[in-house]
Amino acid sequence: MNLQNKEGWLYVMPLLFWLAFAICVPLYIAVELSFFDIKIIGTEGKFVGLKNYIKSLKSSKFPRALSNSALWVIANAITQTFFAFLIALTLNKNFKGVKIATNWIILSFIIPTVVIVVIWKLMLSSSSGIINSLLIQFSIIEKPIGFFSNSTSAFVSLVLINSWRWSPFLALIILSGLKSINQEIYDASKIDGTSFFSEFIYITLPQLKGVLFVLGLVGTLLSFNVFDIIWLITKGGPSNATTTLPLLIYETAFTKFRISQAAALSVITSLILLTFSIVFIKVMGKDNDD
């Protein structure tokens, strides 16, 4: 080990100090808060030990939000994988305008989430949305559907909207993985007469293992964290059908004003995510070395 390279720490330090201040200090405060019974921010409370944790785990809202979150992550993973591969495999072909298409496909990712909410609230509106209007014109339905008023359709719509936002971003990362695959492997398989699907499953996917590992982990955590889109469209409704854990925490803290309980929920959530990450890395990362 070269001693001179300790200099590296000097360059990393400013960022680490910033992150320590913005993440570690608040995390410590959150853990501390979770052992008191503070309701409104700024008021004092007394030490209650694990009471907030027991209350959180026993309430009916927590298991509901946890299962909503699990369903949310799985549904998003499936939808986004489909769209991301559709985009990436298409953009990996040679056609006129492929460069422009590749640069602009990410448009849905760079605009504010609030704008996405506006777009899809109007697109799916029951009174004036173009989707309902088209479905009626083609006689697929007779009366407009209230996409956000029924539990199942609200959940499905939100998954699709969130996937609309993230798929192009994931597609670009998959695309760069595809471009780094040695073309000779494909050429060899062409001689052997491999079909598109077996080519995809036996050559493309295994070659993308490294990229897919990172996407699987970071993507899961990122979709777990989604807050804006759900909150601004359904506020967790109808009847809590779209209340995921981040929404439950936010609601507990800022509309029910139970700060300590929200802090306990935050700590529980962090532990769940930490466990997931460790298991994921242990199980999936076995044959993935840096």
């Binding site: 390279n5 200099e7 590296g8 720490w9 360059y11 990393v12 910033w18 992150l19 201040f21 913005a22 993440i23 608040p26 995390l27 405060i29 959150a30 808060l33 921010i41 700024g42 559709l86 985009i87 495999l89 298409t90 460069k99 590749t102 640069n103 602009w104 990410i106 448009l107 760079i110 605009i111 504010p112 989430t113 609030v114 909410v117 506006v118 777009i119 109007l122 009174s127 004036s128 949305g129 209007s133 609309w164 192009p168 971003f169 990362i173 760069s176 993985g177 970071v218 964290n225 807050f227 601004l232 981040p246 925490i249 936010y250 803290a253 929200a262 802090a263 935050s266 962090s270 840096d290």
Partner: protein, 274 residues
């Protein structure tokens, strides 16, 4: 005649185009429709009634310009700080391999996926005690925190492509490391720095959750919070909202016209070269 090969590309391309681009077109076109045409049952694709009334209203008789100013200030300052910190950190991590650098690198990626909502409550409390709620600083603190981990990761790919010889040659000539970083590495990594800058700007430009809690004064609200206020109203003024949504997307789109291609390659290179 259409060959089979063309067909294989044309079909998915059409689906992608309709799903991912048409909504933008429809929203922008609707922003020019009269209020009656926007809410009529049979939606039109090209506006029959062409009007600038919504844009007039949002620009000249609402707080939009104040929100725009706030968003620009917060995003620009966040971007500068985030890019500065990330360049230093990426240089330290990837050029000067030091003991523990792998650990720091992994730690940073975990931070990227860290749920913001968990920090929201304690951060509110902490900033409240420091008297920093309702300030640009509160938002900048958050934006830099959530953009730097990924920025460092993106910069890695760019720094790796710069040959170490150039640096060593300069060091022999007596230049200090900081001089080398800013006079030699910086210009070479400029495309990478451009793409990282856009990334940091976008993260700040779109942030909603923290801004909605940390800022209570109307004069300090950012665009997402201002727009969300209209979305939440019982009777939504669609024309007004659509004009606002169009204008709020414009700055990032303009930025993207100029540096989009660096952004897209910068975003994806890190995944492969890591």
């Amino acid at each position: 005649m259409m060959t089979k090969k063309n067909y294989i590309i044309a079909m998915p391309l059409t689906i992608i185009f309709v799903v991912f681009f048409f909504p933008f077109f429809w929203i922008i076109s609707s922003a020019f429709k009269s209020p009656q045409e926007i809410i009529q049952k049979n939606s039109t694709i090209i506006p029959k009634s062409f009007t600038f009334e919504h844009f007039n209203k949002i620009l000249f008789s609402s707080d939009f310009l104040i929100y725009l100013k706030n968003s620009l200030i917060v995003s620009f300052v966040s971007m500068l700080i985030a890019v500065f910190l990330s360049i230093l950190a990426a240089y330290g991590l990837h050029k000067l391999k030091f003991y523990g650098n792998k650990l720091v690198e992994r730690g940073l990626l975990i931070t990227y996926a860290f749920p913001g909502v968990i920090l929201l409550i304690p951060m509110y409390l902490m900033l409240g005690k420091m008297g920093l709620l309702n300030s640009y600083f509160a938002l900048i603190l958050i934006n830099v925190t959530f953009s730097t981990p990924f920025a460092v990761w993106m910069l890695k790919a760019f720094f790796k492509t710069i040959p170490i010889d150039i640096e060593e040659a300069a060091m022999i000539d007596g230049a200090s490391r900081l001089t080398v970083l800013f006079k030699i590495i910086f210009p070479l990594a400029l495309p990478g720095i451009a793409s990282v800058s856009i990334f940091c700007f976008i993260i700040s430009w779109t942030e909603y959750m923290f801004a909605s809690i940390m800022i209570s004064g109307d004069d300090l609200k950012t665009l997402p919070v201002g727009l969300a206020g209209i979305v939440g109203q019982y009777q939504i003024d669609w024309g007004f909202l659509l004009a606002g949504a169009t204008l709020a997307s414009l700055p990032v789109i303009i930025l993207f016209v100029f540096v989009g291609k660096y952004f897209v390659s910068g975003l994806t290179d890190g995944a492969v070269k890591s």
